[in-house]
């Protein structure tokens, strides 16, 4: 324990840099996954024929072991290669399933009588989506993003294997050298990041799940 503490103090800058790299990979991949996943989730509520294809694809991606997925991506041109961009692509792919599923479930879960009233009063599909369905589904959508983000923090540690940096660097080095201190130096900050992400998005989710934002 003493060793670990000393390690953090003497390698403060490096720990910070790796944590920053780690956070950056997660942030970029989750942002892109939200930009792709939320519209995809909305799309399959509109076009049920696509539901199986889209969710099926996201499901299959999820079943690929992460180390293998990183490996598969390396030889692919443009997205592949060694480094953070490949890792980010893999993280995006992993994040898609919970985000698409959350969006889909959130919108499907909106009270049908509310939707019917909206349509019956002459709201267009877009008005219904923006004014009713998305606001009411937001809590569930954020829950999906939360799961995706926490998972990404964990998976991003493996990205070090393809030279993407991040806190996984310490873990891989520690495993190779049978150095518990190094392993902990990587995994403790990663765990803290995951906990912080969970807490932050959990708060947001709770706020959004209560559609009645202020009391009378």
């Amino acid at each position: 324990m003493m060793n670990l503490w000393q390690f953090f103090i003497s390698n403060f800058d490096e720990v910070l840099t790796l944590t920053g790299q780690h956070l950056w990979m997660v942030l970029v991949s989750i942002t892109v996954a939200v930009v792709i996943g939320v519209p995809a989730g909305v799309l399959i509520t509109r076009k049920p024929a696509l539901e199986k294809v889209v969710l099926g694809f996201a499901n299959v991606v999820q079943t690929i072991p992460s180390l293998a997925l990183f490996g598969f991506l390396i030889p692919i041109p443009v997205v592949g290669g060694i480094g953070a961009s490949t890792a980010i692509v893999a993280l995006i792919l992993y994040a898609l399933l919970p985000i698409i599923r959350g969006t889909y479930a959130g919108i499907q879960g909106v009270d049908p009588s509310v939707k019917e009233a909206g349509r019956g009063m002459g709201m267009t599909d877009l008005q219904l989506l923006w004014q009713v369905e998305i606001p009411l589904a937001l809590g569930v959508i954020v829950a999906g993003i939360r799961v995706a983000a926490i998972t990404s923090v964990g998976i991003a540690t493996i990205a070090a294997a393809i030279g993407a940096g991040g806190l996984g660097m310490y873990i891989f080095r520690g495993v190779a050298g049978v150095n518990t201190t190094l392993i902990l130096a990587g995994s403790i900050p990663a765990a803290l990041l995951a906990l912080l992400t969970d807490f932050g998005l959990g708060r947001m989710e709770k706020l959004l799940k209560n559609p009645q934002r202020r009391s009378a």
Binding site: A117, G120, M121, G122, M123, Q127, P135, P211, Q212
Partner: protein, 255 residues
């Protein structure tokens, strides 16, 4: 195609040999009746007899597989559905108020969609809340979850009346209320209708409600309209299904 605004057609809604099929099941067959301007027609019948489906054909939430429904002399399928629906107030049993909107925003929904000035919307909302017997100062800023069932239903009625549509569709609007609140709202609604003279198509499974509110009552069975007539005509009908429906009333009288 379109009748001029000045000479309003006498008939507001017309069902022309309307059938509606879903997959292989015939939900409605050969519906033919009309509703005059300002008239309240109440459809009664058992669950699954096609009452709600009939209602949804009017605002084109559904389209007939056969025949046509005319609203103000135009087939629903030739109306722009959005334009059609904004001219038809719609009240359903579950109310369907938006839980994330205040009472005020719920009632203001259609005026806002129609792009009214905010000040005009605000005044109209107050006017409507008063009309349905709710104190605007007290309730405008509440959320639906903070209202009782009866209050919610009043807000639902106010919302449906917001842009003063000539036609109202009401699907068991008072069905979920306790008997006392229910009869209160029925009385107020009857009075309201006396003043507003809307054309109303009303669905209920409560015959008493039908007799009380309807100018004419249509009895539906297995997707057909078996009898349609005034309350008196209905009470003296010899039709077996009508008699079956009237039975509970007589049982009440004997007791």
């Amino acid at each position: 195609m379109r009748t001029s605004e000045v000479e309003k057609p006498e008939i507001a809604i017309q069902f022309h040999q309307v059938s509606y099929r879903l997959a292989e099941a015939e939900i409605l067959s050969h519906l033919a009746f009309e509703i005059r301007q300002g008239e309240t027609v109440v459809l009664v019948g058992r669950s699954g007899s096609g009452k709600t489906t009939t209602l949804k054909l009017v605002n084109r939430l559904l389209e007939p597989t056969h025949g046509e429904v005319l609203v103000q002399d135009r087939a629903t399928t030739s109306w722009d559905p959005i334009e059609l629906r904004r001219r038809i107030g719609y009240v359903i049993q579950e109310v369907g108020l938006f839980p994330h909107f205040t009472v005020e925003r719920n009632v203001a929904l259609v005026p806002s969609l129609e792009g009214w000035e905010p000040e005009r919307v605000r005044r109209r909302v107050r006017e409507l809340l008063t009309l349905v017997g709710l104190d605007g100062d007290k309730y405008a800023h509440r959320y639906p979850s903070q209202l009782s069932g009866g209050q919610r239903q009043r807000v639902g009625v106010a919302r449906a009346l917001a842009v003063d549509p000539p036609i109202l569709l009401m699907d068991e609007p008072f069905g979920a209320l306790d008997p006392l609140t229910r009869s209160e709202i029925q009385e107020e609604f009857k009075e309201l209708q006396g003043n507003l003279k809307k054309t109303i198509l009303f669905v209920t499974h409560d015959l008493q409600e039908a007799l009380y509110l309807g100018d004419r009552i249509g009895l539906m069975k297995d997707g057909r309209l078996t009898v349609i007539g005034t309350p008196d005509e209905l009470l003296s009908s010899a039709d077996p299904e009508v008699k079956a429906f009237l039975k509970p009333l007589q049982r009440g009288k004997r007791a």
